[in-house]
Symmetry: C2
Subunit: 365 residues, 2 copies
DNA sequence: GCGCATCAGTAATACGCATTAACGATTTCT
DNA sequence: AGAAATCGTTAATGCGTATTACTGATGCGC
């Protein structure tokens, strides 16, 4: 019989002054002469479950309207056991001052898709670790406040990421990330895009094409080379190691002489991979200029990606665009699926070929 | 004695399969061998009230870290505490496809300042009303999940905003917003900036200057005119109605003839206000070109703001830059103060003069 | 008339956390 | 020594809403 003794109401401190009597469901209920549960049922508007008479429904709705009732999102989310929050984490500031290098295009897609699915976004950055300011090893822990989290950029520490994944926290990485077992990611289809670029060059009449790439084993690089070679093969053009120039320092090793050598050998088109620095592309342009070659007429150039922002002006570069916005949206879709407990995958997002002024038919030999 | 009968646990439905239970305080407590209340006390980190032994504190912190515990923001809010979340709400997409119209520069400042103060940002997307797409009267209600909220753009419905303010919910509007009583806002000091532009022109030797403005009564417009006139006055130059050309359709009414007329009258410099469309500035440029006037040499031009993005290339325009980043930061400061219950105000943020190539000394008469 | 299904609505929880009265164990005071 | 103060921790409670299980009141069929 140990009936709990009446306490002198512990718990809540007196409401702070600011709290105007924002109406609660219970007040709506009192005004309508029904129970709080009924109010909840009516306002939820679900067709299922308990049935409510039309009269009661109207009474409740009238009462709610007259009181100006708005549901408390905190309570709603607490009861629903889901916050409808998706995290967006970028190791560098999400909004770097340099707009060009920003994740902006991704965010466009992320926001759209998240909004369409009724999620709000929580923005995290590597620098903001919740007040402490010191990006400790548990910096990524904060993202757990969301239902799941998107990661932008390849700087997210693998260890922490692994930890999140291992704990079953829904995580999606934007950009291919194979090396991390179990990490979900979305990426662009560099293979197909690179192949298409080659196909276009071949269609223009080019018979010998050389790829300029840096000395890097990132998936983004190997995928491009792979697609490049597949493109050659599909067009029945000579592939093999001779078709690829790989250099750790293309800006020095890709000389005008070497370029001239290729051209004398019958090479009429060059393709460069895109990298953060744009090194391969820069080197290629420089070599062409130094060699005094007329770009669209004597030699065709294409870029497997977009030119670096500082080279953005000038003639449009033949190549392909990475669909960053669509990647962002795809990432949200995948993440939403994971949050819902589904075992989903998103296909690679295809890139869009960009025809430009740097490629044309080969010179009549 | 009516002891409540044991129910077969109503309430929560079983958690969806995918959800690996995010750790709760109770689990941290179990692992640390203490009660949930103790965990809460330790994590709250308050110096006041109950005291906790150093040993217990460490046990709890270790347990929390090893589980990757992060408090649930909704529960925190509901328990009448704070969740260290600041909302950012924009009725239109925060990241529109058109980069130029975005709130991006504001976000840079918002993020920096929020991070520095230990807040995380929640992006409430206006268009997303829970997937339904229909923006109900409580579209803004979601922001109550955060401790306070920033509003971007003047599309936020006044009614809902007023409601939030009335309920004592901390709200800060970015951009002047006087008409809404009690709404806190931060804005740029157009008056001083405009005055400075005039001062600079006067310093170059201009003695007659005319302002081209549209027919608008927005604060942003009247402030600029006000500053312009103050600048004239300070320089001892002729002001009055003759110095201001106000037109609802400047692109048609600001003809080359009219411009020539002013120039023949001794006007050597023109100033245009910045608007969304950039109408005044466009009209001015067109008129100058049509009149065949040589811009820096025969006539000086200045813009009270930044040129519209599609006119961004070409020579640098003399005028001033709106410090969007600093505005964002100021907004966060103000909001943080409001959240803390202080009665704060932020001063107007001053704009930065931008010297350009469109203004120079007047022609030797 | 007596079960049985249907309908309308309510009571009782639970969600996760913060808060505070109360409590056991010491230590200190008178 | 007994009372009182101190310390460290816990039990109990509330925040506002969503979700059942359950209760009365009808209506139905035989």
């Amino acid at each position: 019989m140990d009936e709990p003794r009446k306490r002198s109401r512990p718990g809540r401190a007196p409401a702070p002054a600011g709290r105007t009597a924002r109406p609660r469901q219970s007040e709506v209920a009192r005004l309508a002469g029904v129970s709080q549960a009924t109010v909840s049922l009516v306002l939820a508007g679900k067709k299922q479950g308990a049935t409510i008479s039309e009269e009661t429904r109207r009474k409740v709705l009238d009462a709610a309207r007259s009181l100006g009732y708005v549901p408390d999102p905190a309570a709603r989310r607490l009861a629903a056991a889901r916050n409808d929050l998706l995290g967006v984490f970028s190791f560098t500031a999400t909004f770097p001052t340099d707009v060009q290098h920003s994740y902006y295009p991704f965010l466009v897609g992320i926001e759209q898709e998240a909004a369409a699915r009724g999620y709000d976004l929580v923005l995290f950055t590597g620098s903001s670790t919740g007040g402490a300011g010191a990006a400790g090893p548990d910096a990524l822990s904060r993202v757990r406040l969301a239902d799941g989290c998107l990661f932008l950029g390849r700087h997210a520490p693998a260890g922490e990421l692994r930890r999140l994944v291992a704990d079953g926290f829904p995580v999606v990485h934007i950009g291919r990330r194979d090396e991390l077992e179990g990490l979900a990611w979305v990426g662009a289809d560099y293979v197909s895009a690179s192949r298409e670029v080659v196909a276009r060059l071949a269609a223009l009449g080019h018979r010998r094409i050389v790829l300029i790439r840096e000395d890097d084993d990132a998936p983004a690089s190997t995928d491009r080379e792979h697609g490049f070679l597949k493109g050659l093969e599909a067009a029945g053009l000579p592939g093999g190691p001779a078709a690829v120039f790989r250099s750790a320092a293309p800006e020095r090793e890709l000389t005008a002489e070497r370029l001239r050598g290729w051209m004398d050998d019958g090479v009429t088109a060059f393709v460069a991979e895109e990298t953060d620095t744009g090194g391969a592309w820069r080197a290629l342009r420089t070599a062409v200029r130094d060699a005094g070659a007329d770009c669209p007429r004597e030699v065709s150039l294409a870029l497997l990606g977009s030119p670096p922002p500082d080279l953005a002006d000038g003639p449009r570069v033949t190549g392909f665009d990475i669909p960053r916005t669509r990647l962002g949206a795809a990432a949200v879709r995948l993440l939403a699926a994971l949050v819902a407990g589904e075992e989903a995958t998103e296909p690679l997002v295809s890139c869009v070929f960009r025809s430009g002024a740097t490629a044309g038919p080969p010179p009549a030999s």
